[in-house]
């Protein structure tokens, strides 16, 4: 293989860990975003304040500090030790989920009030209104900003290399100490991350297209 690409197969050994943290993190982020986004506007003060507390802490502290805290400080405080890759999935997922919660909330608020009134007039229950009227419309509004957050999550997976996970970035660091070809190694890493983020962007566009199917923008056509 030509010069920089001889390093590619070795670099790609870090890909499974990066993909695991990305996919796991996205799952954690979507669930926590939905729960906290709904909980944020709950009438129950305990649910509401728990959601606010979660959102503000996980947004206010930076991802790398959270990661270090959960990996190095938490075991000393509580004796609870998470494997590094699991800590990465949980912490990065909760971090991005806290941003996602605000997206979910904004999307739900963007559904016109007439839709809820119409659902009430049709005698739908609160759950049916949420499930069949509000969420499908909110999902479409939330998809593009959530997609951006997924790319943020992919980018932040590089941080798990700092808590001993052997991901793409960590493989790059190993290779660097072996070969001292920093420019080639890290440029190629950036290209790999770019390709991965374009995959996410494409998937998000597909999801958006699927969700917008059959949408009728009343009055505009």
């Amino acid at each position: 293989m030509p010069a920089p690409f001889d390093l590619l197969p070795i670099l790609l050994k870090g890909l499974p860990a990066t993909l695991a943290v990305t996919v796991g993190g996205i799952a954690v982020a979507l669930v926590s975003a939905l729960l906290a986004g709904l909980g944020r506007s709950s009438r129950d003060p305990i649910v509401r304040w728990t959601s606010i507390f979660y959102i503000e802490t996980f947004r206010g502290v930076s991802a790398i500090v959270l990661l270090y805290w959960f990996f190095f400080a938490l075991p000393l405080l509580t004796g609870l030790r998470l494997p590094a890759i699991l800590a990465g999935i949980v912490v990065l997922g909760l971090n991005i989920g806290a941003y996602g919660a605000e997206v979910v909330r904004a999307a739900i608020e963007s559904v016109p009030p007439g839709q809820r009134q119409a659902a009430k007039a049709l005698n739908l229950s609160a759950w049916q209104t949420m499930r069949y009227v509000v969420l499908p419309q909110a999902a479409l509004a939330a998809t593009p900003p959530l997609g951006n957050l997924m790319i943020e999550l992919l980018k932040s997976t590089a941080l798990v290399s700092m808590i001993t996970v052997v991901d793409l970035t960590q493989m790059g660091m190993f290779l660097r100490t072996e070969t001292h070809r920093s420019l080639a190694i890290f440029s190629m890493l950036l290209l790999i991350y770019f390709v991965l983020s374009q995959c996410i962007a494409l998937t998000v566009r597909l999801v958006e297209w699927r969700l917008s199917h059959g949408q009728d923008y009343g009055g505009t056509r």
Binding site: E56, T57, R59, G60, V61, S62, A63, I64, V65, L66, Y68, W69, F72, A73, L74, L76, L77, I151, K155, S156, T157, A158, L159, S161, M162, T169, G172, M173, R176, H180, S182, L183, F186, S187, L189, L190, Y193, F194, S197, Q198, A201
Partner: protein, 219 residues
């Protein structure tokens, strides 16, 4: 579990590290504000050879990890030149360039938000390009830009501890050193977490205030 004596002992070092972090953010933000404006102007240019490459580079930098960008610049410079640029300056440079790709979008949105009629009216009044920017466009574009820039300032502050990966003696690096010397990570890292929480909540409130101010000043 928690040692208060040790807490007070590590505080001065962490505060010194916070100073370095804030310095990096101030430098990075200055660079990001200036460079971002340049990218935004380039992208608005009618010359395709200028607008398209700018678009490509901005998108590329936005879609790749800041940590890897830091490593790329830091280690490449070290290998090529023997490290003439200190880690702190390297960090400020990379932070600034990374965030300039975000501020570019903020400027673009701000400039696009000014209705076309305003440009046409300025032309009808025979204002020069500079006069149009100075007296018509910028006074309308800047107020909505400020809160968005503030948000990126907060984001940059939260990304700044990454500079510890290239050995900058910032707040996180100080905490890591204190932790590895004593095998007590809980106190230094918790202090760092609380400092970040307090500062980002406070600056978040500041941005919200700015948003209210700027949205009511325009009618």
């Amino acid at each position: 579990m928690w040692d208060w004596d040790f807490t007070w002992q590590v505080m001065p070092s962490i505060m010194q590290g916070l100073g370095v972090t804030l310095l990096a953010v101030a430098g990075g933000m200055t660079l990001a504000i200036l460079l971002g404006l340049l990218w935004a102007v380039f992208r608005r240019s009618s010359a395709a050879w200028l607008s398209w490459p700018t678009y490509g580079v901005v998108e590329f930098i936005r879609s790749t990890p800041l940590l890897v960008q830091l490593y790329l610049v830091y280690y490449t410079l070290a290998e090529l030149t023997g490290g003439w640029l200190s880690p702190l300056w390297t960090g400020i440079f990379v932070l600034g360039v990374h965030y300039s790709c975000y501020t570019a979008e903020v400027y673009r949105a701000g400039l696009n938000g000014v209705p076309r009629g305003q440009w046409i009216a300025a032309k009808a009044l025979n204002l020069s390009t500079w006069q149009t920017y100075r007296h018509v466009v910028l006074p309308q574009a800047i107020p909505p830009i400020l809160p968005a820039l503030g948000n990126y300032l907060i984001s940059m502050f939260k990304d700044a501890p990454l500079l510890s990966a290239i050995t900058v003696l910032d707040i996180l690096e100080r905490a890591k050193i204190a932790g590895s010397q004593s095998f007590r990570y809980q106190e230094p890292l918790t202090i760092v977490g609380i400092i970040f929480l307090a500062l980002s909540l406070a600056s978040g409130a500041g941005v919200a205030w700015l948003k209210r101010r700027t949205s009511t000043s325009q009618t």
